[in-house]
């Protein structure tokens, strides 16, 4: 069965500092991997995704993520955090090719302090 683990429930960083949010997945075949962001009172928005090719993927708002098959990880990074990045971040895994379920992690809530 597919699953996603986000080990950090809350993370606090200072504005301008770098950020890394961890995600580990379990999936038996080639996965689609996603990061979504949910700002307070907002719906979920896709930040970036990986399905093949270059293991370092770029997303919106200056985020990037690196797929490491050997570690079953897909960590999200940003070199310099802005106050507007305060939100909840969800990692997700789905099968290649669609028509099956997409499984989300429990989320990491990011707090940004001035």
């Amino acid at each position: 069965a597919q699953s996603v683990t986000q080990p950090d429930i809350h993370i606090t960083v200072s504005e301008g500092a770098s950020l890394e949010l961890r995600c580990n997945y379990s999936y038996g075949a080639t996965p689609y991997l996603f990061w979504y962001v949910q700002s307070p009172g907002q719906g979920l928005q896709l930040l970036l995704k990986y399905f093949s090719g270059d293991t370092l993927v770029q997303g919106i708002k200056g985020f990037e993520a690196e797929f490491k098959r050997s570690q079953s990880s897909f960590n999200l990074r940003k070199p310099s955090v802005h106050w507007s990045d305060a939100a909840e971040y969800f990692c997700a895994v789905g099968p290649f090719g669609g028509y099956q379920k997409v499984t989300f992690g429990t989320g990491t809530k990011l707090q940004v302090i001035p």
Partner: protein, 114 residues
């Protein structure tokens, strides 16, 4: 722009009532999903559908059923609402096909069962 519409933003129901949550998408997507979102638990998949009249159980289907009579509409039914079904319910539809792979979420329905 892509649109997933959930009929109610807030809903208050009594224990034992039958509850219908409606979701409509305007993108001709085949895949549609119902998740519930609870603090600390992330998004958990209740049911999904990959075509009209086709449905698959997700990870937490107990106490719920779904209906997909038309491609654009996916309904979640709580046959007899209980207090532990108080939650935020999110509907999503999905493009498929490599670079286009993405979930589009509605704005959610906050259901309170008293």
């Amino acid at each position: 722009d892509v649109k997933v519409t959930q009929s109610s933003r807030y809903l208050v129901k009594r224990t034992g009532e039958k509850v219908f949550l409606e979701c409509v998408q305007d993108m001709d997507h085949e895949n549609m999903f119902w998740y519930r979102q609870d603090p600390g638990l992330g998004l958990r998949l209740i049911y999904f559908s990959y075509d009209v009249k086709m449905k698959e159980k997700g990870d937490i289907p107990e106490g719920y059923s779904v209906s997909r009579e038309k491609k654009e509409r996916f309904s979640l039914i709580l046959e007899s609402a209980s207090t532990n079904q108080t939650s935020m319910y999110l509907c999503a539809s999905r493009t498929t096909g490599q670079a286009n792979e993405k979930l589009f979420f509605g704005s959610g329905t906050q259901l309170s069962v008293l």
